[in-house]
Amino acid sequence: MGIESVAIHSDPDADAAHVRAATQAFPLGGDSPGESYLCGDRILEAAKATDAQAIHPGYGFLSEDVDFARAVEDSGLTFIGPDSRSMALMGSKRSAREAARSSNLSVVPGFDGDLRDDQVLVEEADRIGFPLMVKAVAGGGGVGMRLVEQRADLLDAVRACRREALAAFADDQLLLEKLVRPARHVEIQVLGDRHGNVISLGERECSIQRRHQKIIEEAPSPAVDADLRRRMSEAAVATAKSVGYRSAGTVEFLLDEKGAFYFLEMNTRLQVEHPVTEMVTGLDLVQLQIEVAAGASITDLLAGRNLEPRGHAIEARIYAESPEDGYLPGAGQLAQVVEPRGPGIRVDSGVHPGVEVSVYYDPLLAKLIVHAPDRHAACRKMSAALGRCAYLGIPTNVDFLHRIVQDSDFLAGHLRTDFLDRKPDLVRGSQEPPPDLAYVAAALCQVLAEPHKQRQADGENRSREPGPWRTLNGLRLWGGR
């Protein structure tokens, strides 16, 4: 677009991918999000110091922070997103449910009144019935959210949600929702402009979730036909219009087995999974966000374009965590990064070899996106692409994702939000010991890497923790006899 960019970053992110990609970098200082990416004042200072005209908030941290959006507006800069008023209405799950109800949408049954009193909370929970969901009113991304199967677990879950929500959003208010199960998570991508237009760019299916966080998303949904797409789109557009929405946003629904859909929430920002919509529509959502923020009209931007989904796209989120071990996140240095390339394969990666995966942030390493003529071909392409990924040095979920996309229910499109809860064997993976080939590979990698490694070691101080290979060097087993 010919626009220069300024990346802001914390100390651990000084070498991060977004910093490398930007025209200019501005250090915010500090390690934790609270000392860096959540400091709105520092970010505005950075904008002034670098003569920036607009701020894109990304999809974490302050992207849905009403105070920040307002501060950006007040400072005379452009916030690339909705205005702070519609963000405030939708940013709280409570007022969002209100807005959806006023647009005649069904919301998930539950209680969104005052829940600060534990006694009220327990009474309301009993009225809704178990299982139910406890959610932070300000929450998102699975943070501050718990599934409670029985009454005995309610208060522990509530306390954990309050703590997480307070830490992540500085707001510990909660709401309760009845658990709709079985259900699919289907969401509609909307785009609004500053001229009152709001359109739908179709749906994404995001039913494959762990810990209430999406890990595999696709477009279109195997459960949505043209008629349902039209009805869900109309509902989403009406809700967005009711709050004067004027940027890219997502209206999330639960879709039950009978084809009834319930409003869940609206995300007033770009979603992590936006690439699957980009692949099937051929649009660049970030570009459109910037265009509409600059005042362009959607009618002009998309004139003559067919917005029906073309082909099928799937995204898999590559996380630094062990699904086989309770999704335990792993931090540390990525020794090797190999990402697949090819027609219809896109990798939105945040890492490179040598990067330190820090404990401070969400453990998302990269997003692998494939596009193919149909769902079957897309599943095959995703499987092949995952097989060719390598992120070594820390645990990752690559093999887990690989197992999912090869699963017969997944291939058949039988998706539901508790898909993984119902497949513990798939989550655990095979418990078989490594095959001989793994040892052959490890030994020969070591043999062939050794001359190179030793050259490196001569110039490098040896103060680092001795890893297994280093111990091996010490024994001089290679070529020394």
Binding site: V398, L437, V440, A442, C445
Partner: protein
Amino acid sequence: MRVFQRDFHRAGQSLQVGVQHLGGDRYRVEVGGEAYEVSATPMPGGAVRLLVGGEAFDAYCASAGRTIQVRVDGRSWNLRPDEAGVAEPEANNGLVEAPMTGTVLKVLVRPGETVRADQDVVLLTAMKMEHSLEAGASGVVAKVEVEEGQTVEQGTILVRIDRL
């Protein structure tokens, strides 16, 4: 010429792995009692291309903590070297360790308290999420080694439990 020799642990048993260089890109690899003749060529980007019995594989390998992570044929494996002097991690040894670097949010037990193996004893927060850590062994809490709010490295002992 012998160019590699290493003992591993596989499925509770010791496994000897040795490599002989046969010349050029040819190697003879012994894994336990089995022998394989393999062609191996380093590839750009850190992979090693293996030709084993007419099949080609790209292999990658790196150290990850005490294990060796290897990726071959579309799967990853963690191999455990048999290191002299390093005690075998004993299951349920009564030590609750930090499985990852993080911050101790809450210590849920006190010294002298009796705990079940599946009882949560510490809440750890890392990467935005809370993780509860179980005792791992039934017994009596002997000592709490950390304080709430303390940042701990992976492997730090958090709680010691005298097993019953």
